[in-house]
């Protein structure tokens, strides 16, 4: 007996949804086994996680805080991947967007309530920062054929250094220099009140604030979907993502497309960065143990992969993974195994990757036959 893997001739629609959901289920089951093996009760751990993520008071707030950046980096990754471009640099592009967006906020902001003008400027500058950083690997890929995977990855570290430098190693514009605390520990200059992103409050769970950034993320998902599915730009992206030869044959301007897609991807990640400033941290966070430890960029890649690069699915999955991350943080302590979140996420992702095979291929078991050279004569009907 051996098994063969064959390409499916057509892909039934239900499979495309069933396989990812199935992988999550299998993933949770496997994680449960791991938990059992290390002496923890899986059902109780899962219940605690779910509770801390979505049910308990204030949990939705925290989940949204964790999910919003993931939606941005997930969308950024998905936007690039549609054309088979692996932008691993969402992490660094997010940092750069945080830097440029914060600059806009600090410079233009003043007193008074949140100003639409200032926020718009911050959004604009945040996108520019991320896009510019993404342009570097974009140019190298478009004009030199250098793999964007590694160039964008390397630039993440450079961006992290720059971010740390601005707050920790210099007296830059972004750094808080006044006040007693400033001499004790380097922090970013707080954003003026008109630069703070205040979202609407919803009366659920005792009142939660919907971050403005979350709204922008949903908007970005819609725009991305329309752009890629309903517009000429998206047509060309799909063709180029499928076959370079066919794209050149059709007259698609390949270099421009590669660059454009990287810019869009970086811009979205940059928007995620300025959302960090405006929605949550209210200053530029250059602490190596702060924003840089959150791994929003890398987790975003996981989100995008699980969502199979569909913009709407990205938003949903970002919410779920955000819940998981939030729960992991909240529950951390002697009783609740730390590192569990990473383990579960990893296992689910492994199962999703394995399940991916089933979507495009069919696995059959083939009995190995050795028919004799002379066939038995068939009985005449």
């Amino acid at each position: 007996m051996r098994f063969t893997v064959e390409r499916r001739l057509n892909q039934p629609r239900w499979l495309v949804v069933a396989v990812p959901i199935g992988s999550v289920v299998v993933g949770l089951a496997v994680s449960a086994v791991v938990l059992l093996a290390t002496g923890h009760d899986p059902l109780s751990s899962y219940r605690q996680l779910f509770d801390a993520a979505f049910l308990s008071t204030g949990s939705l707030n925290q989940t949204l805080i964790a999910a919003t950046p993931l939606a941005f980096t997930g969308l950024a990754t998905a936007a690039a991947f549609r054309m088979r471009i692996f932008n691993i640099g969402a992490e660094g592009q997010l940092y750069m967007g945080a830097i440029t967006g914060a600059a806009a906020g600090l410079y233009l902001g003043g007193r008074g309530g949140p100003s639409a003008f200032v926020i718009a400027a911050m959004v604009f500058m945040g996108c520019i920062g991320g896009a510019a950083w993404a342009a570097i690997p974009g140019v190298f890929r478009a004009f030199f054929g250098a793999s964007e995977i590694l160039t964008s990855l390397m630039l993440n570290y450079v961006a992290a250094q720059i971010l740390t430098y601005l707050i920790f190693e210099s007296q830059s514009y972004w750094r808080q220099t006044k006040g007693f605390n400033a001499t004790v520990f380097p922090t970013g200059k707080p954003l003026p009140s008109s630069a703070i992103w205040l979202g609407p409050t919803v009366h659920v769970q005792g009142g939660i604030t919907l971050p403005l950034g979350a709204g922008f993320a949903v908007l970005a998902a819609v725009v991305l979907w329309v752009l890629y599915r309903r517009m000429r730009f998206g047509f060309e992206v799909q063709v180029l993502g499928d076959s370079l030869g066919a794209a050149r044959y059709a007259g698609v301007r390949v270099r421009r497309k590669v660059l454009a897609v990287m810019l869009i991807s970086g811009g979205i990640a940059g928007l995620g960065g300025v959302s960090q400033d405006g929605d949550f941290r209210h200053a530029l966070d250059g602490d190596p143990n702060g924003l840089q430890k959150q791994a929003y960029g890398y987790t975003g890649i996981v989100v995008a992969a699980l969502a199979r690069y569909n913009p709407f699915a990205v938003v949903v999955i970002a919410f779920l993974i955000g819940g998981l991350a939030n729960a992991g943080n909240t529950l951390q302590g002697a009783d609740f195994p730390s590192g569990l979140v990473g383990v579960i996420e990893g296992i689910i992702l492994f199962c999703a990757l394995g399940g991916e095979l089933l979507v495009r291929h069919r696995v059959r078991f083939v009995p190995r036959t050795r028919t004799p050279a002379v066939a038995a004569p068939e009985a005449a009907p």
Binding site: L150, T164, I301, S338, G342, V343, E345, G346, L353, G354
Partner: protein
Amino acid sequence: MNNSLLVVLIASGVAYGTPLLFGALGELLAERSGVLNLGVEGMMLVGAVMGFWTVQRVHAGSAVALIAAVAVAALAGAATALVHAFLVITLRASQIVSGLAVTIFAGAAGLSSYLGNDLNLADVPASHTFHAFFPARMQNWPIVGPIVFGQTPLVYASWICVVAVVYYLARTRPGLNLRAVGEAPGAADAMGINVVAYRYVHTLIGGALAGVAGATFTLAITPQWVSGITGGAGWIAIALVIFAFWRPELCLVGAYFFGALQALAPELQARNISLGPTELWTNSIPYAATVIVLVIVSSRGGRRRLGAPAALGVPYVREE
């Protein structure tokens, strides 16, 4: 003279560069077989924690405990690599996503922390650590003393590994086969080479060496366990392979260069020398330099002569 900046830098460069070297050698072998492994950081962390655990648990003489610890670290790294190998070779999953999944699974927010905290390994010094191998007298010799003789046995082991890998690739049949698998798996298959086996074996070896690299941290450099102790060394190791044009001897040079860069900023500070934002530069240079190398090897002339194994990152499917 042995306290001059240059000598200290080089000696530190060798010490800090050793985990980078192990990681890079492992990644080089995996990539030469056509498998991109972005999970090196995760594998290092798993090796670090399991190596530390072993050394705390084994009640025997120093040498035995340490050797056992390194062996366990290697096994742990290889086991982690097995997951990645299975996903990308047999199940033909995306090598990039799988590697990142391994890093998330095993990394500082994942399995290595899980194990470290569950096994109560934090805040405790290691029971045994690697010390300098040669007697103090030799360590005091001018220049070569600290640089060559002041190192731990792991460093010497890494030198042996480099020589072994160089010889393996250039002068042996399996090494030639490996190179063929990474360049043209179809041709290798037609010549009767088992592409799948080569990829599995070399990915596992890559994981094992990454595990050893991780153990270098917890058993030699900072002999303690902390979550996320490798601090990004896995990523530098990946960069290093490219920076070294996929050549093991250049991995050695590059590793020590990057290691020295890491030592530069603290040394300057200790000597009260201020050269401006040193840390920004020294920490960025490895990555920026790698980007430049990448662009060079991707150029038309470069790709043929200098570049990556041609089949890197592509799952091999024999059309059956």
